[in-house]
């Protein structure tokens, strides 16, 4: 296990390397002069200021030196300054991360609460009306664009039946009850699509488990059916479900951009979106990098956790 962990950590190196190269390359590939992109509107005309800026950004050096210096800076937590607010990018981004994690966690939690019972019952009552219903619903769930679903939800619950706020965010540390109030619609929008995925997965892994021999053994021993299902089968069937949900959580961190935009949810996705609108390149660059690293790190943790939960999986 230790060797495997070390191996996996070593595998992170090329991944993070690719990430940094892509993100670094992004700014390099912007049209025009980098000083114009990074320096904002002022300080473009005067050649002396240009030279000074070139020196400050290290643009007088060859590109691989620039890259190395940039990576070096990032390693010490210096992500540069936002062109718009002039605050350090790290501060700007770090204060936005909790909102994204909050939304993703609640969304995933909600999806599990819906999907596990639904998938299990669908598998146990295979080929019944319930099963078909669950299958059709989950197929629809993965086919509906989430932003459209979100808009329809807002239309329904904020305009026609004005019971929920259409957008906004209140930190849970500030006012917990109110924060839940604002969370409902975004979380449902996130959770619905996830629930559709997870239901399909739970159903198929449940079917897989039910057909195994230990289930026949348990039944022939005269154990009641509910015990066979809920005590033995479900536990095993949940291993892939939980794993995939973990990976989905990682994917959500980078994928809630659209929903955060719709619900004005001040997470890291909305920050990146606004930065794209305002051409705030340091924020885009660092935002994508930080999110990317977070996604990769969570993936790794889930993978390691999976091996702990399921020792039968071969290490290597």
């Amino acid at each position: 296990m230790l060797i495997y962990t070390i191996n996996r950590l070593l595998q992170l190196i090329p991944v993070v390397l690719i990430l940094t190269v892509v993100v670094f390359g992004f700014v390099q590939a912007l049209p025009g002069d980098i000083i114009d992109s990074l320096g904002g509107q002022e300080a473009v005309e005067d050649p002396e200021v240009r030279a000074a800026l070139e020196k400050e950004f290290g643009l007088d050096k060859p590109i691989y030196v620039q890259y190395a210096r940039w990576v070096g800076k990032i390693a010490t937590g210096d992500f540069g300054k936002s062109l718009i607010t002039r605050r350090p990018v790290s501060v700007e981004l770090l204060e936005r991360i909790p909102a994204t994690i909050y939304l993703a966690l609640v969304g995933i939690g909600l999806s599990l609460v819906i999907a596990i019972p639904l998938g299990t019952i669908a598998a146990v009552r295979r080929n019944t009306k319930f099963d078909y219903g669950a299958q059709v619903t989950s197929l629809l769930g993965i086919s509906i664009p989430e932003f459209w679903f979100a808009i329809l939800c807002v239309l329904m619950f904020s305009l026609y039946f004005p019971i929920l706020p259409s957008s906004g965010y209140v930190a849970p540390t500030e006012d917990f009850a109110k924060s839940l109030w604002y969370l409902v619609l975004p979380a449902v929008a996130v959770g619905f699509r996830q629930a559709a995925f997870t239901t399909r997965l739970t159903r198929s892994s449940m079917l897989d488990e039910i057909s195994k021999e230990y289930v026949d053994t348990a039944r022939s021993l005269g154990l009641p059916e509910w015990k066979v299902i809920y005590k033995y089968t479900l536990r095993n069937a949940l291993i892939p479900t939980i794993t995939i949900s973990g990976l989905q959580l990682a994917a959500l961190l980078g994928g809630t951009v659209v929903l955060e935009t719709i619900f004005a949810w001040p997470g890291i996705g909305l920050t990146i979106y606004q930065a794209i609108q305002l051409r705030d390149y340091p924020v885009i660059q660092s935002g994508v990098l930080i999110l990317g690293v977070m996604v990769v790190a969570i993936n790794l943790m889930i993978d390691l956790l999976y091996r702990v939960l399921n020792p039968r999986v071969q290490l290597g």
Binding site: Q11, P14, L139
Partner: protein, 316 residues
């Protein structure tokens, strides 16, 4: 449809030995198509999916004949008109005919998606087949590379690339080309992974040995013998991926990062519809339904196809 269909495998050629190769080929093609359709009918899901896809492709093909209005021509006398015989889906805030916009936008979206998925296959398939066929060091290096790419959060990559496209002021055809490239490139590692795992199994089969005995060169075996046998899982993934790609394109243009405004686009039209959602919710309905229909079509077909091609999963 597929070579693997049981009906085709046991086929008996009732042709005379002196037939021309072309006629033999045609005869076999006809038989496999007939057998393919017979197979397809066994799965209700894939039959429905196939019907929906056929409808979708036909509509895309005949879009020029089906549109009733110029999709970008504004008409301020008929702003936000309701559904009528003149405007089947009503008009948007500029008085443009939504029905025509949905059709033309769909043609573009479907074309981009199909090209992107095809590009991903062309890129990933040979990579994966070679990796699986040669194994050992080639495989280890190639798969680490693929792992690195797979770990990269997709949506973030698209955001970066689309932002770059916007900064370079790429429009129309070039913008679409960038989308095809980005979406296809992101799909390639998945294809490579899948092709590699099939190729690993296929490379140990007897027909490969036979080809070797006949003095076939390795690279020829990999591409003419093994590659065709790796196709079926890839076609399934590709079909499901098509739906996913449509969702991504819609999400990006919903964020305002797609083509520039007058061009009809499902995502962008949905985003524009939000301004008038309170008074005219119908304008937000049709583009959304169109996305839903297309994604559902590919998901259904992919699901059914997987059941047909992988009998082990058939009753799930």
């Amino acid at each position: 449809m597929m070579e693997q269909a049981p009906g085709t495998r046991q086929r008996v050629d009732v042709l005379r030995p002196d037939e021309t190769p072309l006629r033999v080929w045609l005869h076999r093609l006809r038989q496999s198509v007939v057998a393919g359709f017979r197979e397809l009918r066994r799965s209700r899901t894939s039959t429905i999916g196939a019907a929906m896809i056929t409808f979708l492709l036909l509509v895309c093909l005949f879009t020029p004949a089906l549109v009733t209005h110029d999709p970008i021509k504004t008409n301020y006398r008929e702003r936000l008109a309701p559904v009528s015989a003149e405007h089947y889906f009503g008009t948007d805030k500029f008085g443009r005919d939504i029905y025509s916009r949905v059709l033309v936008g769909g043609q573009r979206t479907i074309t981009i998606s199909v090209l992107a998925v095809a590009f991903g296959m062309v890129l990933g398939l040979p990579f994966g087949v070679i990796s699986g066929f040669y194994g050992k060091a080639v495989d280890a290096v190639a798969m680490r590379f693929v792992d690195g790419l797979l770990a990269f959060p997709g949506l973030l990559l698209y955001l970066l690339i689309v932002t770059l496209a916007r900064e370079w002021k790429l429009e129309g055809f070039w913008n679409d080309l960038i989308l095809v490239f980005a979406l296809g490139f992101a799909f390639a590692p998945q294809v490579a992974r899948l092709a590699r795992s099939t190729a690993l199994v296929e490379a140990r089969k007897e027909y490969v040995e036979a080809a070797r005995v006949m003095g076939e060169r390795n690279i020829m075996i990999a591409f003419t013998q093994i590659l065709p046998n790796c196709m079926s899982p890839i076609i399934v993934t590709g079909t499901v991926r098509l739906g996913f790609v449509i969702l991504i394109i819609a999400a990006l243009s919903f964020l305002g990062l797609g083509t520039s405004p007058p061009t009809p686009d499902w995502g962008a039209d949905l985003s524009a519809a939000r301004d008038h959602m309170e008074s005219h919710p119908m304008i937000a309905v049709f583009p959304g339904l169109a996305i839903c229909f297309s994604v559902l079509a590919f998901n259904l077909f992919g699901d059914g196809l997987r059941d047909l091609l992988d009998p082990r999963l058939a009753d799930r």
